[in-house]
């Protein structure tokens, strides 16, 4: 094994996990994921950030595979992964699995969550689930122009306070808000902004107690696991993938 190979396969190096997910992270300083509901303009944001001309279509589920691209900002090379659009991360369809596994095991430096500003209630379901997995995220309120046209505005300060992550208003198709988005992503990636993400509160009290119990046990076994509470919830939901990942030791890699 050469020195480089040893380095890449080390549990402390996240690029081993990324490589396993099929991502080449050579020379990238930060890896950033784009997540969101279908048809919220993820591909348009992706194109606005990377300058690529990926085809964007107005129908849910256009991006069933991952698209990759990159850009530079302040001497940092940034790798951008466009995840399939999903409404949730709780089911087992292939697109949801791709998105979930990437955020969980790929551990992106920042996850940008794209939200349709005119339909935030429905979009927040996914946001809340993502925030249980990662604590480094930026919410991008896209399609602001369309929302305003339909007389809907969003109080982004309150939203940011509620979710515990920065919120940026955007209208990607008109190229509005993209510079602000880029600089916010950068600040989160460099830990200049520290997120305190919202945790799901609506569970019944007995369920909440049981989740806490399992959470404690997981944290004892895996000290420093950032998303132990979410994993506890998945185990209580008998998520076969998570059980499998525990068995084959993938979770040790999450500790790094």
């Amino acid at each position: 094994m050469t020195e480089l190979e040893a380095c890449n396969s080390c549990a402390l190096n996240n690029s081993a996990q990324l490589l396993k997910l099929g991502i080449n992270v050579d020379h990238a300083d930060f890896v950033i994921a784009l997540a969101g509901n279908p048809n919220t303009g993820k591909s348009t944001i992706f194109n606005a950030l990377t300058g690529l001309k990926q085809h964007t279509g107005n129908w849910p589920g256009k991006t069933v595979t991952r698209a990759e691209g990159g850009y530079r900002y302040k001497d940092h090379k940034i790798k951008l992964i466009d995840l399939p659009g999903t409404y949730s991360l709780l089911s087992t369809s292939q697109d949801e699995e791709i998105a979930r596994n990437f955020i969980l095991f790929g551990k992106p430096d920042v996850t940008i969550i794209i939200v349709d500003a005119a339909r935030i209630e429905r979009n927040l379901n996914l946001v809340l689930q993502i925030l249980e997995i990662t604590d480094r995220a930026v919410l991008c309120l896209n399609l602001m122009d369309e929302a305003l046209r339909h007389h809907i505005d969003i109080d982004e300060r309150t939203l940011s306070r509620e979710l515990g992550i920065p919120v940026v208003k955007c209208s990607a198709i008109k190229k509005q808000g993209i510079p602000e988005l880029i600089s916010t992503i950068h600040q989160v990636a460099k830990r200049q902004i520290i997120c305190k993400p919202h945790r799901i509160k609506g569970l019944s009290r007995p369920a909440q107690k049981i989740v806490d119990k399992l959470d404690k046990k997981i944290r004892k076994n895996y000290p420093g696991l950032p998303n132990s509470r979410w994993i506890a919830m998945r185990l209580l939901d008998a998520d076969a993938d998570i059980i499998e990942a525990l068995k084959n030791g993938d979770f040790n890699l999450l500790l790094a």
Binding site: H55, G57, Y87, T92, I152, T158, E162, L203, Y222
Partner: protein, 471 residues
């Protein structure tokens, strides 16, 4: 962490799972919804008009209504096809005369001046070059019209409405409603349609969608349909109506494909792939004004050029193969003619002929080259003088193509059955490979490849029988 620790944790989790009860999942989902609703209420500021989506609702009521939904769908598809057929004619002729009448003689002259041996000249200029330029001149114009219009409709948000309209039919045939979306992707390219089935959660319904995607006429087959419909069906009526009738015929074949999709989905879901239909929520996205220039640009780069490139990559070697089988002789007969004579009787059983069957064999890599192959083989079979064997004819008008095919013994039956066989035959090799990659099963790949051909033979056989009853 040690292995027994993991087991310990899993045991603990399953113990707690009993405690928490089986409605934990619902409790969790409810919890998320409650949180989301609270946050939305605090942050959303609504002003003025209480019903901001009024116009869109009205549009949706029309486009997805029981009464008008289907007629509008068919009308839109007809207009696109008519524009494609009408608009492609002229530029196709221009390209053909440039490549075939202007550039081809120059290349021949150049080849003879640098002293290329006859076989290398034939192989390269008459084989590879002619097949490639035929594909460009026949395929580029229709694609450059069809894809951008289709993409504009897609960007506008019409496709999910199509899915909505077809949903109940798919449910009735035991398949997933989202199959409507993968089916319309298949109208562009079956391989893309097969990949798109990833949006279907249930493996059973996904497999149905994969197997039946081949019944969506892909862009490699639209030109075949359009040409044959123009030659054999359009000419049945006075010139003024011919392109309208040809368009209607092509739509008929496409809709027949939709019919076969439903039928085979239904049969599969009753036999090999039994199971419950899963429900799903299909979001009707808002209508958005497409960004016309961006759309035109991306559809040209993403679809037209990529598909054209693929066609050329496959056409070049196929042209070479055709030239070779037409120029390698065994006992005074070329290999192509031997093969054609051998399978001609078999082809006639299905109202087709040896040339068509051989062309479909040669064209397994890409449907796009079926027509050029048929023309080249017909020329070599008729032993027409003036052009060497296996040399692509200069067919700058459909009239000449028609004359050639009639000389090859084609009848209205041959035309109809070719259109049907083009709809019902094995997927191209790219699609077959994609099916394997997506299903990871040789069994299903084989099934998806062979089932449509058998169906094609069955249908053309029956049509031929019926035809001969009346003729």
């Amino acid at each position: 962490m040690k292995e027994n620790d993991t087991q310990d944790l899993l045991d603990f989790a399953s113990k707690l799972r009993w405690e928490v009860g089986e409605n934990f999942h619902d409790n969790l989902v409810e919890g998320i919804y409650t949180d989301a609703a609270q946050i939305a209420q605090k942050t959303e500021i609504r002003q003025g008009a209480p019903n901001p989506y009024n116009f869109e609702r009205k549009l949706d009521q029309v486009l997805t209504s029981n009464k008008y939904g289907f007629p509008i769908m068919i009308l839109i598809l007809s207009i696109i096809l008519w524009l494609t057929i009408q608009g492609a004619n002229y530029p196709s002729g221009l390209l053909a005369s440039f490549f075939l009448e202007f550039l081809h003689p120059l290349l021949k002259l150049g080849a003879s001046q640098i002293g290329l041996p006859w076989w290398l000249d034939g192989f390269l200029v008459d084989g590879v070059y002619l097949a490639t330029s035929w594909v460009i001149s026949v395929m580029l114009p229709p694609m450059a019209i069809f894809f951008p219009i289709f993409t504009l409709l897609e960007d506008f948000g019409y496709l999910p409405r199509v899915a909505f309209n077809l949903d109940s039919l798919f449910k009735k045939s035991g398949a997933h409603g989202k199959q409507a979306l993968t089916m319309s992707m298949g109208w562009g390219c079956n391989a893309a349609g097969v990949v798109a089935t990833r949006i279907i959660d249930s493996p059973r319904e996904r497999l149905i969608a994969i197997i039946t995607n081949n019944f969506s006429l892909c862009n490699g087959r639209w030109p075949t349909q359009i040409l044959i419909a123009t030659i054999f069906i359009g000419t049945l009526v006075p010139a003024g109506f011919s392109s309208i009738l040809a368009s209607i015929t092509v739509i008929g074949v496409a809709l027949l494909g939709v019919g076969f999709t439903f039928l085979s989905s239904w049969i599969l879901s009753k036999t090999l792939l039994k199971g419950e239909v899963s429900t799903f929520a299909l979001e009707l996205p808002p209508y958005r004004t497409p960004n016309v220039w961006t759309t035109l640009y991306t559809s040209f780069i993403d679809r037209t050029l990529i598909v054209l490139w693929r066609a050329m990559v496959f056409a070049a070697p196929a042209g070479a193969v055709i030239w070779m089988i037409s120029n390698i002789y065994i006992n005074e007969l070329s290999v192509a003619n031997l093969a054609i004579n051998w399978i001609d009787k078999f082809g006639l059983l299905f109202g087709l002929n040896g040339v068509i069957l051989l062309a479909y064999l040669v064209a397994i890599p890409a449907n796009e080259i079926v027509i050029p192959t048929i023309l080249m083989l017909t020329v070599s079979q008729l032993d027409l003088t003036g052009a060497g064997d296996g040399v692509m004819f200069e067919l700058d008008s459909t009239t000449e193509t028609a004359a050639l095919l009639h000389a090859g013994g084609w009848t209205l039956l041959t035309g109809i059955n070719l259109m049907l066989f083009s709809l019902l035959h094995n997927p191209c090799s790219t699609t077959i490979y994609t099916i394997y990659k997506e299903t990871k099963s040789w069994k299903w790949t084989l099934f998806a490849s062979i089932m449509p051909v058998l169906l094609g033979f069955l249908v053309t056989f029956l049509i031929t029988k019926v035809w001969h009853l009346f003729h």
